[in-house]
């Protein structure tokens, strides 16, 4: 009989009554709790996903017979002007459907006719005469004439327009002296010296010399919107949400079959490029059928499913392991060759890309038409030779640091494999994972020993070799300082003949394999996930999703 505070039996009954009341309140509150709060935020316009209601409403209004293909892009295009300073990959993708240049790139990255049926180059290689196609109309119905070509070129060359690749045409690569228009259907470009890359630069998807109608700008010369000659019109642009392209009825597709950005381009559906910043959000949108396609990289491939397929293709962005040739240890070519021979590279590439990519030791993408078996010959691991090379070089276990980042998973995976396997082969390597911003600044200043890196695609091998070859004193970003190789590259800067260029590239490749300034691993594959309702989509190396010639049932 103790009457402690309070009675033991009493409190239990009291306790349950209290708990009972509280739980009743809790259950009711949870159900309502979040909603009023969420409702209070109702006005928030989280536009990560184009509002379903709004989309269907817009589609219903003009009630065209055409279906609509919705493609997800990571970030919205900051500008509607091709090749502008502020451009990003979405700009290139969208405008590739709207504007055309005189020439265009095929899938094997060769140059094909587009607005110019044919062109001839003067013997000294300094004059290009283009013969324009007949009957081509701008989106505003005006016919294409040589005056429009001259106007477009002059507009892009004016500093006010902010054209990113202006330097390619006013001196760094080649200088255009004059643009002549002898008659409405011929245009003549005069260059200061012959350049094999003039046409390539003109067709570069990053900053094409797009042929635009002067009505693309207002009276003061300020940019309005692109009035081009492409299969699609630039219909509607809601910044941060989507870009809507509708087919240009009076478009005249070319006769040749479609290849890359060249050939016949048919517009079978409306195109809506929807901005969804978050990769996982894109995936959930695809799963729920709100989008029809998206780009994906090799590390987060979605599980196989009947609702979508993964279209894979060879890429053109070489994944490499750089070696700082000015580093005291790595300046010795024997050490570099030992590193190249220490690891079974094809095996690593296969593990890294889950079998989606092949080992490609050359800076030239395997998809390029000049690619030959010579380019395909790389290094085959040979541990005995590695030991002898290391002995000759007097290597006694010093540690090399291999820099990588976590932002791009494939670079990180490459680094982890190389570090482990090199250490196994007797070359001590330490992994140093830094933040992507710092790795870029280290790359641009050359402050590293080994680095797992990836170059963005260059449309012509000469451009890639141009960026890799050079003198480190005045440009720390170059990797290979062989004067002979630079002289060989400069020798073909003027020649247009494919066989001469191929022969030069083969020689360059063999010199690079011998000097081993860097190890090229593979071209990271181009992967696009598409819903099964979409047909006719093909992959190509330059990572621009081409949605013409594509139907949706």
């Amino acid at each position: 009989m103790n009457n402690r505070l309070p009675e033991t039996s009493g409190p239990q009954r009291v306790a349950w009554r209290t708990w009972h009341a509280v739980f009743k309140a809790v259950a009711m509150l949870i159900a309502l709790g979040c909603l009023p709060l969420a409702a209070a935020r109702a006005e928030s316009t989280v536009s990560t996903l184009a509002p379903v209601a709004a989309v269907s409403a817009a589609a219903r209004a003009p009630a065209p017979a055409l279906p609509e293909i919705r493609f997800a892009v990571g970030s919205d295009t900051p500008t509607s002007m091709p090749g502008n300073l502020a451009r990003n990959s979405t700009t290139d993708t969208v405008l590739a459907h709207v504007v055309e240049s005189l020439v265009a790139l095929r899938a094997d990255m060769s140059i094909a006719p587009m607005l110019a049926d044919s062109w001839n180059i003067s013997p000294d290689g300094k004059t290009y005469t283009f013969h324009l196609r007949k009957g081509v109309l701008f989106h505003n119905g005006a016919p294409l004439t040589s005056a429009d070509v001259k106007w477009s070129f002059d507009y892009f060359m004016s500093p006010r327009a902010g054209f990113e690749c202006r330097t390619a045409f006013n001196g760094r690569s080649v200088k255009v002296l004059a643009v002549g228009t002898p008659d409405p259907h011929t245009v003549v470009f005069k260059l200061d010296h012959p350049s094999a890359l003039f046409l390539t630069h003109m067709a570069d998807p990053r900053c094409p010399i797009a042929i635009l109608s002067p009505s693309s700008v207002d009276s003061h010369g300020a940019w309005i919107k692109p009035i081009g000659t492409g299969p699609y019109e630039f219909t509607e642009w809601k910044p941060g949400q989507y870009v809507l392209l509708t087919p240009f009825a009076k478009y005249l597709p070319r006769a040749e079959p479609g290849s890359g950005l060249a050939g016949a381009k048919h517009a079978y559906a409306n195109l809506r490029f929807v901005t969804i910043p978050d990769a996982a959000a894109q995936m959930s949108a695809l799963m729920s059928g709100q989008i029809d396609g998206m780009k994906v990289d090799q590390n987060d491939l979605p599980p196989a499913d009947s609702r979508w397929t993964v279209v894979t293709g060879v890429g053109a962005d070489p994944a490499v392991m750089l070696m700082q040739t000015r580093d005291p240890l790595l300046s010795d070519v024997r050490i570099r060759r030992a590193i190249a021979l220490a690891v079974d590279l094809p095996d690593v590439v296969n593990a890294l890309s889950n079998g989606l990519a092949q080992y490609n030791p050359s800076l030239m993408p395997s998809a390029n038409r000049l690619y030959s078996p010579v380019e395909a010959t790389g290094y085959t691991s040979n541990l005995a030779q590695v030991r002898s090379l290391l002995a000759q070089a007097g290597y006694h276990g010093q540690t090399l640091t291999l820099e990588t980042n976590r932002r791009y998973e494939h670079m990180y995976s490459l680094a982890v494999y190389m570090q482990a396997l090199l250490s196994k082969a007797g070359i001590n390597v330490d992994l140093q994972v830094v933040e992507w911003g710092k790795q870029v600044s280290d790359f641009r200043s050359g402050k590293f020993q080994l680095m797992s890196f990836g170059y963005t695609a260059r449309i012509d091998p000469a451009m890639m070799y141009g960026d890799v070859l050079g003198n480190k004193a005045d440009n720390p970003m170059v990797q290979w300082e062989d004067p002979a190789a630079r002289e060989l590259l400069r020798s073909i800067s003027g020649t247009v003949d494919a066989s001469v260029r191929q022969q030069a590239f083969q020689q360059l490749h063999q010199m690079m394999i011998a000097d081993a300034p860097l190890l090229v691993m593979y071209d990271s594959p181009d992967l696009v996930v598409l819903s099964t309702r979409v047909h006719g989509f093909t992959s190509w190396p330059l990572r621009l999703a081409r949605l013409f010639n594509v139907t949706k049932n």
Binding site: D300, P303, D347, V416, V433, V434, K438
Partner: protein, 276 residues
């Protein structure tokens, strides 16, 4: 099961877990079945088996060895950052609380600013400026926790300043600095020690969170947070990569919290009444 033995049970479980953690941290890496960074191309994503008790990860590395090795890294990072924060916070807090005046106001404004400053940017800034290293994380976490320690030390100093024995020491002619060191600091240690056990737990958590965002102790040295972050992509086909690192973090935290609670009850005068 009356109260006393239950409270002691908490302390017992706590010290066992903390003991295990410390053992792993100190001597663990010498007894792991595999070297933590050994890559095995042919045993990728292997399920837990006799060979690999906790299975292997994306690169075929043994998860169990990495957890044992990871304990060392996580422990050193947490202990050092807590000590850093304890040292800096106590000195700044006690001095500014005791002397007050404009010094106190300035310190408080900075403390407020640091509290409003997300630890994230601090961590990234330090990590990148100093280069990725354990000590970068220690400095980042230390700085992130200094404000809260300073606040508690300052609070302690403020209340102690009014206590008669501090006033008596001043009226005896002792200098303020002597009074501070001889009387104020020893008496404000107890609450700080109790707070640091809870701080230790959150430091372990923060280190895991940082390496989760790729800012923590850089790979390849294994940390639990890093392993958990990597495991996210393997949810549907290698769940053991998620379970084991997460479980080890939770068990370590559970140990530290139980141990911390036990220590606090010992130090708490009110508990003395119940003579634990």
């Amino acid at each position: 099961m009356n109260l006393l033995s239950l409270r002691r049970l908490n302390l017992l479980i706590g010290s066992v877990l903390v003991g295990l953690l410390v053992a792993c941290a100190l001597i663990g890496q010498f007894f792991t079945p595999y070297k933590p960074i050994d890559v095995d191309l042919f045993a990728r994503y292997a399920a837990p088996s006799a060979q690999h008790w906790f299975g292997t990860d994306e690169f075929g590395r043994d998860v169990f060895s990495r957890i044992v090795a990871g304990a060392g890294v996580s422990m050193t990072v947490s202990i050092c950052s807590v000590l850093f924060a304890l040292l800096a916070g106590t000195v700044i807090g006690t001095v500014s609380g005791f002397f007050g005046g404009w010094l106190d106001r300035i310190v408080m404004v900075f403390i407020d600013a640091l509290m409003a400053f997300p630890g994230l940017l601090l961590a990234l800034g330090i990590m990148v400026v100093l280069g990725p290293s354990k000590w970068g994380v220690v400095l980042a976490l230390g700085l992130a926790y200094t404000p809260s320690v300073t606040r508690i030390a300052r609070g302690g100093a403020l209340t102690l300043r009014q206590r008669d024995f501090v006033v008596a020491s001043q009226t005896m002619g002792n200098s303020s600095m002597w009074t501070l060191c001889r009387h104020v600091l020893p008496n404000s240690m107890a609450p700080l020690l109790v707070f640091s056990t809870s701080l230790f737990g959150s430091a372990l958590l923060a280190e895991s969170a940082l390496s989760f965002l790729g800012l923590g102790v850089p790979p390849p040295s294994p940390t639990w947070g890093g392993m958990l972050a990597d495991s996210r992509t393997a949810i549907d086909h290698a769940i053991w990569l998620v379970i084991f690192p997460g479980a080890s973090i939770s068990l370590a935290l559970l140990g530290i919290n139980l141990f911390g609670d036990g220590v606090r009850d010992l130090l708490d005068p009110r508990m003395k009444g119940v003579s634990v």
